[in-house]
Amino acid sequence: MNAANNCKTLEQIVSANKRIDVVMASLGILVLMVASAMLIGVFVDLLTSGWPRLISSEFYTNFPSRHPEKAGILSAMTGTSLVMLVTAVVAIPLGVAAGLYLEEYAPRNWLTDIIEINVSNLAGVPSIIYGLLALGLFVHTFALGETILTAGLVLALLILPVIIVSTREAVRGIPRDLREAAYGLGADKWQAVRMYVLPAARPGILTGVIVGLARAIGEAAPVITIGALTFIAFLPPSPIQAEAPFINFEWLSSPFTVMPIQLFNWVSRPQAEFHINAAATGVVLMAMTLAMNALAIYIRLRLRRHDR
């Protein structure tokens, strides 16, 4: 009797929990749908208003102009690509190394605690503050000027905390057994980290990198603060050249503009034709972000295949 009663209540509990499961799952799907509907809505809106410019090849090969129908995003696209290159080259190795150090090597003491708290807090600092820091430090103190290098460095600083935090989370998620198995086979610490922990943590790290770079590509405030231009009708020197040594680093010291600044300028113009350009620029910016993410995912897949 008693046992049957208990059994019934157990069944009730299970079915009640299952109901909650269903409610939570549908709530989750709803939230997801709202989020993606908003993204798709914005994208479709930009796409339809920017369409006349998006299908014109001149839009991609022309410099900015006072004629909305002739104005293009060549300098902005080049600027954004080069700045993001610098950002990625600086932020990814530094961020991953710092994350690995904090998680694997750093001794547990008050100094590490302070560093950890600061890194987490830095992730929440408004981007304009980074711009001010860079203006004082890179532009004036180090005399790097208002250049692609400065912009790349400030955006790298901006996303460093994101990459550090996600690296740490990813590394923390790797089971201890893996490390211990490696040690058991005679690996030293660096070998264990390099050959087992890092490959296993790669998906998490890459996600952090994607989130960080996607944030950096859309930033206008810190880049304006360090003195990015709005009208620039020439390109930086090419990174690749015909004669030796084939690579040229002069582009790092070139003035530039980036897509968000060009977009903002066109949005705030009085003529409605410029707003079409702004919408088209928005679409291209989103496409660049997606392309960057696709590249990261491709790298991840390739590496995974390589590991096997």
Partner: protein, 330 residues
């Protein structure tokens, strides 16, 4: 592995590259986003005329931000939507920067209302002051407080952001003080203000003439009466003949004298800018009011004579452009 090579290369490059300067001749302009469309248009045509020999870059740090760079000697030319301030003059002086002040165009600050607003046929400067002065904050909230006979409707205000030269000029011309009330919708993006006024029958806002001209179907401009005079509508003509006062204002470029003397390409750019053959049609094309031809001639002469200094001392409002050009800087 590849990454570490790239970083080493980057660090190496950053130490070596910055020792040599740019190959192409560069004219560096920065400053007001209000003046930007004009400088952009001139720069575009100038680069074409120079056939790639000279490059022009234009930034939008704002009038104040532009002067900061200009007075440190970082730019050749500064776009300004208001005359240089005393504090900025001082900064320039400390750094030994001499400048030539040249008017580039006129802008007519336009007071706009919703097309459904059928009561405000015109507004006086005094009424605008009453609406916008700091003392009005939280007190003047209804149209019927502005003038007896106006309907009982809430007063909804839109205006330029407090960092802009447009705001500074409005404050000087209307309030004759340092600031406006704080409880209005401010935006640096004038299109936001256009949308705001177009969407609310009780709204009133102000911004540059170009934004009104592009949105005439959504907005109505209020004629302004000054010192008991006849109400005057904002328009290209009325700004040019100096009857639309006190809200029509000259906008400027400031040229670093040393750059003009030492860099022939900077000098060529300014002469191109002040040539009435180029300036007048281009200024008009981007939605601003060109100066009278004579004013461009005078400006060009002023530049060729390298007359430095400003003709503005303290706040001055409602001075015609011809009168300004006739003055000699002190």
């Amino acid at each position: 592995m590849k990454k570490s090579v790239a970083i080493t290369a980057l660090l190496f490059a950053s130490t070596t590259v910055f020792s040599f300067a740019h190959a192409a001749d560069l004219v560096k302009v920065d400053g007001s986003s209000t003046v930007f469309p004009i400088t952009e248009a001139i720069a575009e045509e100038f680069q074409k005329a120079e056939k790639g020999k000279t490059m022009v870059t234009v930034g939008i740090s704002g009038t104040g931000g532009g002067f900061k760079k200009f007075c440190r000697g970082e730019t050749d030319i500064s776009d300004a939507s208001r005359p240089i301030k005393d504090s900025e003059k001082q900064l320039c002086e400390e750094n030994g920067i001499q400048y030539i002040e040249l008017p580039a165009a006129l802008d007519a600050l336009t007071v706009v209302i919703n097309p459904k607003n059928d009561w405000a046929k015109h507004l006086t400067v005094e009424e605008l002051k009453m609406m916008w002065e700091p003392a009005a904050q939280g007190k003047i909230t209804n149209w019927n407080q502005v003038r007896p006979g106006f309907p009982d409707r809430p007063l909804v205000l839109f205006g330029a952001g407090t960092d802009s030269g447009t705001y500074d000029y409005f404050v000087e011309a209307i309030i004759e003080g340092k600031s406006t009330r704080g409880d209005f919708t401010a935006s640096e993006d004038d299109n936001v203000l256009v949308q705001g006024v177009a969407g609310n029958a009780n709204a009133l806002g102000f911004f540059g003439l170009a934004y009104y001209e592009e949105n005439k179907n959504k907005l109505k401009a209020a004629p302004i009466s000054w010192k008991g005079g006849k109400p005057v509508s904002p328009s290209v003509e009325n700004a040019k003949n100096a009857t639309y006062q006190p809200l029509s204002r000259p906008i400027f470029i400031y040229v670093n004298k040393k750059s003009a003397d030492e860099k022939a390409h900077v000098s060529r750019f300014v002469e191109f800018y002040m040539d009435k053959k180029h300036a007048a049609p281009l200024v008009k094309e981007v939605g601003y009011v060109p100066l009278p031809d004579k004013a461009y001639d005078l400006a060009l002469k002023k530049f060729k004579n390298r007359t430095t200094g400003t003709v503005f001392h303290g706040s001055e409002v409602g001075v015609g452009i011809e009168e300004l050009m006739a003055r000699s800087p002190k």
